[in-house]
C-alpha cells in the first residue's frame, strides 16, 4: 500500500515536473525608451526575469527617446504589429484603449492594493486598471543652498523669496539672477498650481471644462505675478543652473541638475513644491507599462508579459530600479522595504521626493488628453511670455478644449 502510494506520488510529481519543464517556450517584445544607465538597469531586470522563467525570452529593445518610441508605437498600432509590452505615457494609449490587455484583473488583490494610490487614476480606464506605473518621477522644487536657507513652504513664501532673490548684481540694468524659473514646454508646472488651488482641467465626469474657473484664475494669476522674477526657457535648467535660485523640475533630472550646480560651485537642495491654498500636491511624471491585445499577440505572450509586470512590481525590483535610475518606487511595499529605507537614509534629498510622491496627482486618462495638453501648453506660454493676460489665456484654453470633449 505504502509502496503504491509512493509510486503514485512519484508519478504525479514526475508528471508535474515534466509539464513544468516542457512549458512551451514563448518570446515577447518589450519596447522602451531608456538609454545609458537606465537602459542597463532594464537589461539587468529583464535578465533576472528570464533566469527565473527560463521558457520566456524577452526581446527588450531601446526604441530611441520618448518621441521616437511614441511614433514607433503609433505606427505599430496602425500596422497591427505591436510589441507585447511597452513603456507608454497615458495620452499615447488613451485613444486606443480597445486594443489594450487590462493588466489589473490579472494581478492579485494584494498586488493591486500595493500600487501607490496617486498612480492609479492615470492607469485606470473606464474603472479598470489597464496599465501599471513603471518609471515614475515627481515634480519637486530645486533650490540653490547658498541663496536659500529654508525652502518656501507656501505660495506666499515662494513669491516673496522669488522677489527678494531676483537681482541685478553688476548694476547694468539687466537682471543677472532670477528668483525662479519656468519652462513653457512643460505645462505640468501650471497644472501643479491649478491642482493646488483646487482647480482642474475638466469636471469629475469630463463633461465640462473647468480650467477657467476661479481656481484656475487664481493659479494663473499667481504665476503671472511671478513672471517678472522668473527666468523663462524651453531648455533644461541644467543648462542654465546659475540663472535662477529656485525652480520646479522632475526628480528624474536630479543627477543632471546637481551635476550642473556642482560645476557652477554651489550645492543644490531639494524640497517639496510650495503648497497652495487647497493642497500641497505635485504632479507625477514618467511612463507606465502597457500590454497590447492585438491579433499578433498570443495568449501565451500576454501571460508571459503579465508575469514580467508582476516581477517588476515586486518590492526588490521596483527599489532596484529606483536606486539605479533616480525614479521613484511605485509600490507601497517598495517604500517600506529596508533597502529603500536605508537608501533614503543615506541620500537625504530622497526624503522630499518620496514624501511628495506619496502626496501627488497625475494626468487624466482622457482620450484627447494629448490635444488638451498642447492647448494648455499654448496658453501657458502666452502668459509666461506676457503675450496674454491670465483671463484671456484661460478663456482661450477653455474654448479650444471644449470641442475636444465631443470627440
Amino acid at each position: 500500500m505504502l509502496r503504491r502510494l509512493i509510486l503514485v506520488g512519484l508519478v504525479v510529481a514526475f508528471s508535474f515536473g515534466v509539464v513544468g519543464m516542457t512549458q512551451e517556450p514563448v518570446t515577447i517584445q518589450l519596447w522602451h525608451g531608456m538609454s545609458r544607465a537606465l537602459g542597463e538597469a532594464i537589461d539587468k531586470l529583464v535578465a533576472d526575469f528570464m533566469a527565473e522563467y527560463p521558457y520566456i525570452t524577452v526581446e527588450s529593445t531601446y526604441q530611441g527617446g520618448y518621441g521616437d518610441l511614441h511614433s514607433k508605437l503609433d505606427a505599430a498600432v496602425v500596422a497591427g504589429n505591436t510589441p507585447t509590452i511597452a513603456q507608454v505615457y497615458t495620452d499615447w494609449i488613451s485613444p486606443v484603449k480597445s486594443i489594450l490587455y487590462p493588466i489589473g484583473p490579472q494581478l492579485t488583490a494584494e498586488e493591486r492594493a500595493d500600487i501607490v494610490e496617486g498612480l492609479l487614476p492615470a492607469n485606470t480606464f473606464d474603472g479598470v486598471l489597464t496599465t501599471v506605473p513603471f518609471n515614475k518621477s515627481i515634480m519637486i522644487l530645486y533650490y540653490n543652498e547658498d541663496l536659500v536657507d529654508t525652502p518656501p513652504a507656501t505660495w506666499a513664501e515662494y513669491e516673496q523669496m522669488a522677489k527678494d532673490l531676483t537681482a541685478d548684481l553688476d548694476g547694468d540694468g539687466v537682471i543677472d539672477r532670477y528668483g525662479t524659473a519656468f519652462r513653457p514646454s512643460n505645462p505640468e508646472q501650471f497644472l501643479i498650481f491649478l491642482e493646488q488651488a483646487g482647480g482642474s482641467i475638466l469636471n469629475e465626469d469630463w463633461t465640462e471644462v473647468t480650467i477657467n474657473s476661479a481656481a484656475g484664475l487664481e493659479a494663473m494669476n499667481f504665476i503671472n505675478g511671478l513672471v517678472p522674477y522668473s527666468f523663462i526657457t524651453n531648455e533644461y535648467m541644467s543648462d542654465h543652473i546659475t540663472e535662477a535660485a529656485m525652480f520646479l523640475d522632475t526628480s528624474a533630472g536630479y543627477t543632471y541638475n546637481v551635476g550642473a550646480a556642482t560645476n557652477a560651485g554651489f550645492e543644490l537642495g531639494v524640497a517639496r513644491a510650495p503648497a497652495g491654498p487647497v493642497n500641497g500636491k505635485s504632479m507625477v511624471q514618467g511612463t507606465n507599462l502597457v500590454i497590447y491585445d492585438t491579433d499578433n499577440q498570443t495568449q501565451a505572450q500576454k501571460d508571459a508579459a503579465i508575469l514580467l509586470v508582476k516581477f517588476l512590481l515586486r518590492p526588490e525590483n521596483t527599489v532596484y530600479w529606483a536606486i539605479h535610475t533616480g525614479y521613484q518606487p511605485v509600490t507601497k511595499s517598495g517604500y517600506q522595504s529596508q533597502e529603500w529605507i536605508d537608501f533614503v537614509a543615506s541620500h537625504p534629498y530622497q526624503v522630499a521626493m518620496s514624501e511628495q510622491m506619496l502626496d501627488s496627482f497625475e494626468s487624466m486618462p482622457h482620450p484627447s488628453y494629448g490635444d488638451i495638453r498642447s492647448v494648455i501648453m499654448t496658453g501657458w506660454e502666452e502668459v509666461l511670455r506676457g503675450a496674454e493676460t491670465p483671463e484671456a489665456a484661460l478663456n482661450y484654453m477653455a474654448e479650444e478644449i471644449e470641442p475636444l470633449l465631443q470627440q
Partner: protein, 330 residues
Amino acid sequence: MTDPIDLAKRATLMGRARGTSLRWFYRIRPSWRESFAAYLYLLPALVILGAFVFYPFFSAFRLSMIKWNLLPPRPFVGFDNFRYIFHDKYFWRALWHTVYYVGITVPITMTLAVLIASLLNKGLRFLSFARTSFFLSYISPLVAITMVWRWMFNARFGLFNYFLSLIDKIPFIHVNAVQWLNDPKYALPAVIILSVWHYVGYQAIILLAGMQNIERQYYDAAKVDGASGFQIWRKVTLPLLTPQLFFVFIISLIGSFKIFTEINVLFSGTSGPLRSAETLVYYILRIGGRIGNQTPHLGRAAAASVILFGIIFAFTVFQLTVTQRRVHYQ
C-alpha cells in the same frame, strides 16, 4: 554596357536552345521593344521610388480628405481638415514665417554666394583651401552645427552677444544684449543667420564652378572692347552664369520652404518662443504628431502638406515659365 537589343537577341537564342521561342518578342514594334527593355532596367528604381515617394505623395491627397484616427474608423470628411487649418491662427503664422524666412534667406544667401564666388574666381592663392573652408559649413552635420550655434546664440555666454558688447564699447553706439533664442522678435532672424551661413558655401561652390566654365574668349573680347572689370563682371560673368544662378535659386527656394531641422534643434524641440519660428513644415510635423509627443492628426497634417505642395508647385511653374526666359546658355 550590354545593348538591350543584344540582350533580347541573346534571350531568344537561349530560348531556342531550350526549344522554346521568343519570336513573339520580335513581333512587337522595335520602338516598343526598346522602351520595354528600358523600363525593365528602370524597374528596381521605380519600385523603390513608387513605394517611398509616389505612393506617399498621392496618399497625402487621399489622407487630407479623411479624419484619421489611430484605429479605424477613418471616415471621409471632405474638406473638413482644410477648414480646420484655415481657422487655425498658427497655420497662418507658420505660413507668414515661412514666407518671411524664404524671402530674406534666399536673396541674402545668393547675393553673398555670388560675391564669394567672384572673389574666389579672382584666383586666390590658396584656392583649394578657401574652397574647402567655404564648403565645410555645408558638409558638417546640420544637427551638430546647430548645437554649436545654440551656444553662440546663448544670451549670456554666447559669441554673438560678446560681439555686440564689443560694439557697445564704441563711443556713441549703444547696443543691448539680444535674447536671440528667447525673444519672439529675434527667433526667426537667428534661424536666418544660421541658414545663410550654412548654405552660402554650397551655393558659392556651384557658382564658382559655373564661372570657371565660362570660356576665356568672352572675357578677351570684352577686354579688347575696353570694358572695365566691373563691366565685365556685370555684362559677361553674370549673364553667362544664369544657368547656375537659376539652378541655385530653385534648389534654395525649395530647400528653404522645407526648413525644419535647424529650428527644432536650435529651440530644443520647440519652434521658438510663442512658436515664433514655426514654419509650414514644422507645423505639418507638429500636428502630424512627429514632434513634441503630440497626438497624431495625419488628416490635418496631410491637408497642410497639400497646401505646401501647392505653394512650391506654383513657385516652380512660375520659375520655369518666367525666369527661364532670362537664362542664357553659352
